[in-house]
Amino acid sequence: MDTTRRGFLGAIGQVTIGAAASVAGAGQSASAEGTNVPHWGMVVDLRKCIGCQACTVACIMENAVPEDAFRTHVSVYELVKDGQDPAMVMLPRLCNHCDDPPCLPVCPVEATFKAENGEVLVDASKCVGCAYCVQACPYDARFINHETQVADKCTFCFHRTQAGLLPACVETCVGGARNFGDLNDPESEVSKMLRHNEVSVLRPEMHTNPNVYYIGLDDVLDGRVAGEAAYHPEMAASVQHHGEGL
């Protein structure tokens, strides 16, 4: 089974593996040429996402995300267009590591900052837990971690990329939908994907300049999704399960 899965990844997941090479390679070439530091970005190919939530689980395990929150998850929608057959549409969501992040200027104590490679990070030792950034993020990508009592969010797995590894969600992505790499390197897989595909970002009207791009994103899903909400189980103070309408 394992072998089959690897074979499957090898056959159709070259982008993912290519991105892994670009993570390690970019760092080297940057330091070798001394010209360009990597600028991490993600390209999510929605045509390949099967909504398995492997990324959601991998992120939780990798980053010890508490039970009532997510750093990333996959929203699933049913779209019915003009009375045609319903279609299931997946939308992996995570922090966009915006280049103009509204979460950053509001932080009263400069705990939120933009790292050298473009990641938007929180200095947990400095954060006062005021949640102003949680309010300011237009993507609901932040939350207050009730175990650490500070702001929490996706870090593009900073600890892993520093070690030349891919973010856990990308590493785990079964369908090869999540692709990660250096947007400054024109030869990286993600740069090529951006060149060769029509891509969009979430909530472009917010002018946040996201670094997470989507291939095949339906217009009706790029903002606040009007429509019927999923059943939301009660988010009790003592959370037993994830508040996900699975």
Binding site: H73, S75, P102, P108, Q135, A136, V225, A230, E244, L246
Partner: protein, 375 residues
């Protein structure tokens, strides 16, 4: 092309700003507006307004002490509050607020102390059990000519509070309901309504002077008219499309029946006390006062908890609008409890009925206490 969307899997985001935040914005708005209402009599010598000003100062002091405690409680790391002063991030309104709030509270308390200093001094001279305490309070003197500049400075800090609290919420583009230029004005106007509501209740409990009740009721009617005008204009610019941010704010909630009920409830809580205060300014103070306090509080609850119930990317509404769990309610009950306690302490220990404008520098001898008619 008609597209129907059903969310099958979506994350829920609970409110990051808890009911403590509602309490803070409610109390601080009442404190600063009450202080501004106390200044004409105490700083600018408008003696006809003295009795109302005494009540206003009582509201300013008691809510002004309670508010920052509620604010601190809303921080998830309250013991790191010192970082606000070490790492001030100039682009953040909250960072500015961290400097403005303590300045306001300190100046307001100093001003209130200065206004009462001659009486503290006098009570320290009498032969009674707590005389020593009042000698301490008065710092051994009765002079209070400096109360006027202190009042002016406290007034400036109060305006600073109105600007920062309004702007802090208004700049959040991610929440359409907050991101409207009307919001700071609405916070200020409903703050006046809340402060007058409390003053009316206090008047009924402590003074029972029909003329003062009528005066306060007339002022309340004026403030409610302002709130209604702001609300009506908000709605008009939103529905006409004149202001896209207001249109978006309205659109973010308009389709939900619960919001239609809130709008009706809000309109009733402005209209009912307005009509009562205008037509029956005497003997309705308790009712108009209570409804006014409710209106000011509910406006903030709706803006903060209701605003956080609107998903930024998901569908439907989250549950934040209704108070869930004991923890949230404890915030509300706890702050109200502290406020009532401070009110009791104030009316017991502060000679508030004798508060008068400061003497001019040439006339700083301790004054005799006011006659009962003046109270």
């Amino acid at each position: 092309m008609e597209t129907q969307v059903h969310e099958l899997v979506g994350a829920v985001h609970d409110a990051a700003w808890q009911p403590w935040a509602v309490q803070y914005f409610f109390l601080i708005a009442m404190s600063v507006t009450a202080l501004l209402m106390a200044l004409p009599a105490f700083v600018f010598g408008k003696s006809t307004d003295l009795r109302a000003a005494r009540l206003a100062l009582m509201v300013a002091v008691t809510t002004g002490i309670t508010a920052p405690i509620a604010l601190l409680a809303d921080l998830h790391q309250p013991f790191r509050f010192w970082e606000f002063f070490v790492y001030t991030h100039k682009s953040s309104w909250m960072a500015w607020g961290a400097w403005i709030v303590p300045s306001y509270v300190a100046l307001m308390l100093l001003f209130a102390w200065a206004i009462h200093r001659p009486e503290f001094h006098r009570m320290g001279q009498d032969e009674w059990r707590f005389a020593w305490l009042f000698r301490l309070f008065s710092l051994g003197g009765a002079a209070n000519g400096f109360a006027r500049p202190l009042g002016v400075l406290a007034g400036i800090a109060a305006l600073g509070i109105l600007v920062y609290t309004g702007s802090e919420v208004m700049v959040v583009r991610a929440r359409p309901l907050w991101n409207t230029p009307f919001l700071p004005l609405q916070f200020a106007a409903t703050g006046v309504v809340g402060a007058l509501g409390v003053m009316l209740i206090l008047e009924r409990m402590l003074c029972r002077d029909g003329a003062l009740e009528a005066t306060l009721n007339r002022r309340l009617a004026l403030a409610l008219a302002l709130v209604a005008t702001l609300g009506g204009t908000w709605f008009a610019v939103a529905i006409s499309g004149l202001s896209p941010v207001h249109t978006e704010a309205l659109a973010s909630v308009a389709g939900f029946p619960v919001w239609q009920q809130i709008a009706l409830w809000g309109a009733a809580s402005v209209a009912i006390p307005f009509v009562l205060a205008l037509t029956l300014p005497r003997n309705t103070g308790v009712l108009t006062g209570l409804i006014a306090i409710h209106a000011a509080w509910m406006f903030r609850w709706t803006v903060f908890m209701g605003g956080q119930a609107v998903p930024k990317v998901g569908s439907g509404l989250y549950d934040a609008l209704m108070p869930t769990g004991l923890a949230g309610l404890m915030g509300v009950i706890g702050t109200f409890g502290l406020w009532v306690f401070l009110m009791i302490v104030y009316t017991t220990f502060v000679p508030w009925t004798d508060a008068t404008p400061p003497a001019h520098t040439s006339d700083q001898a301790p004054r005799k206490s006011a006659s009962p008619q003046e109270i």
